[in-house]
Symmetry: C2
Subunit: 308 residues, 2 copies
């Protein structure tokens, strides 16, 4: 039983107060796949598209992490999707400097036959219509579908977004997107409205302020780890989602209690990602480092109150 991850595999160029990069490897599916690989050791299948300029070494790197790349289409006469951005001093806001869609402009995801036993599906941030097409290509509905999206689609493709949302179990968005989607400032009210739009679970990511999981009348809050420096926030949300679904796919338990654990593991992966540029920190972690990091989350929030 496999975990299918769809999303971008791309080049990024990033500028933060700590420095800037040339073209480095990025993309939602890249971060999500790598983060998931620390929990699900095999059976992670990627669907994406790259151009002739994408390094074979990176595909090898995916494979070395147990990630199947048969579903990554390589377009021989086009270039890989490229995004460039600059973060402001507070690291919570950024300007997009350049977006070159390239291969993404005509991308039509195709789920290979060998991927179709998909039990867990991660729809990384992409045009909502394409996310829905992936769901429709699967012969059996997965046990759990997680969808990430962003404000951009709320502005230009809200109808498609609303349609796709009806088909997923978990939606992950940030606080500003939750407010935009619901037209409510209070995140509690926003969550109630968004849960009425289709998803049974809503994760609201608040960056350095942690994440909230809503389900029916239940709420769970996971903090972000207080770090000395957030070096580069790119990919934090995708790493979070990848760790989240990777843990769920490995344990095959989608109870609320296990989702709490999955959110902590996802938060741990995000906390690694922001420590370096791009995927630098995410590619060489040891299992001990992951467990030590999760233990830091436990120490950060656990307390012992006995109520009468």
């Amino acid at each position: 039983m496999s975990l299918l991850v769809i999303g971008t595999v791309a080049f990024d160029a990033i500028e933060t107060p700590f420095g800037k990069t040339d073209k480095i490897i990025g993309g939602a599916a890249t971060y999500a796949g790598l983060a998931a690989s620390y929990f699900k050791k095999k059976g992670i299948n990627l669907v994406s598209v790259v151009g002739y300029d994408f390094p074979k070494e990176t595909l090898d790197l995916f494979n070395a992490h147990g990630i199947n790349t048969d579903g990554i289409e390589i377009k021989a006469d086009e270039k890989t999707f490229f995004w460039s951005g600059k973060y402001h001093n507070d690291m919570n806001t950024r300007d997009t400097l350049d977006t070159q869609l390239n291969v993404l402009a005509t991308f039509e995801p195709k789920v290979p036959e060998s991927y179709k036993d998909c039990e867990f599906l991660m729809l990384g941030n992409l045009m909502p219509k394409l996310q829905l097409e992936v769901i429709n290509q699967l012969p059996n509905r997965p046990k759990l579908i997680v969808m990430d999206t962003m404000n951009f689609w709320m502005e230009i493709a809200m109808d498609d977004l609303r349609e796709t949302m009806k088909h997923v179990d978990v939606l992950t968005i940030n606080d500003e997107e939750a407010r935009l989607l619901s037209k409510e400032y209070s995140l509690v009210k926003a969550a109630q409205k968004i849960l009425a739009m289709g998803p049974k679970y809503l994760i609201i990511k608040k960056g350095e302020h942690g994440a909230l999981l809503f389900h029916g009348g239940q709420v769970f809050f996971a903090p972000a780890l207080p770090l000395e420096e957030v070096f580069d926030p790119t990919g934090a949300g995708d790493s979070f989602a990848g760790g989240f679904i990777g843990y769920l796919a490995e344990t095959r338990d989608i109870s609320f209690e296990n989702m709490k654990r999955a959110i902590i593991f996802g938060s741990a992966m995000a906390s690694f990602t922001v420590e370096k540029f791009g995927i630098e920190r995410l590619v060489n972690l040891t299992q001990d480092e992951v467990e030590d990091r999760v233990q830091q989350f436990v120490d950060l929030v656990q307390f012992d109150i006995e109520l009468v």
Copy 2:
């Protein structure tokens, strides 16, 4: 053994997106004392100053909550301190519309003889020099001194503030104040610098994003309760501090583990305060309501991960 609370007892006029009030009861010592009274049932002593216009009913209300008001000086020919403010839509920022110091302009705190067995001391937000004078009036150093302050004193009385900080155990400030005081954006770095200035414990309040407790290399994070509406944030920080020290004073345990619990109880009291204008919610709580609220915090953050 008693808990001494010093701070303002005042009138406020508040405007929020949900409505506005005429003059209502406010003040740091008011909120802190009332919040503490849900944990420490007797032996809470207030030191403050009010004018001839302050209602006797409110002093009676304090007494009914087990709060001793012998240390509240009543100036027969002056008016009570008055503050008026308007909150912005996000409820995180506010404009001061009016400040009338009145009795506060010449306030010299005097700790009554009957208060001098003080074991726990809460220095509510006041001129740092006055906070230090209170410490100096005590014959024996309290077991725990908690100090609240604000950006205003960092701007006009930094030297006094730095001096007072050397004499306290716990400092409570918000995130912006921590950055201002330390000149560090990262709260982790800010905490390291501030802990080097004197306090052994630092609590950084992040409003709707919860609170962080730093001590040596340890960190604890307590979330704020996600509420449908924050109706009026006035007094949230003081209620937090009052619940925190009230719980510690009642249990007389100042271990890090017990401080974690105290922060949760403080957060619970703050979550009540913001539900209504002024002290409306804080004056009529039942013990069951307090415990139910604390249980909500437990449910909000507790998870169960077993690491190998």
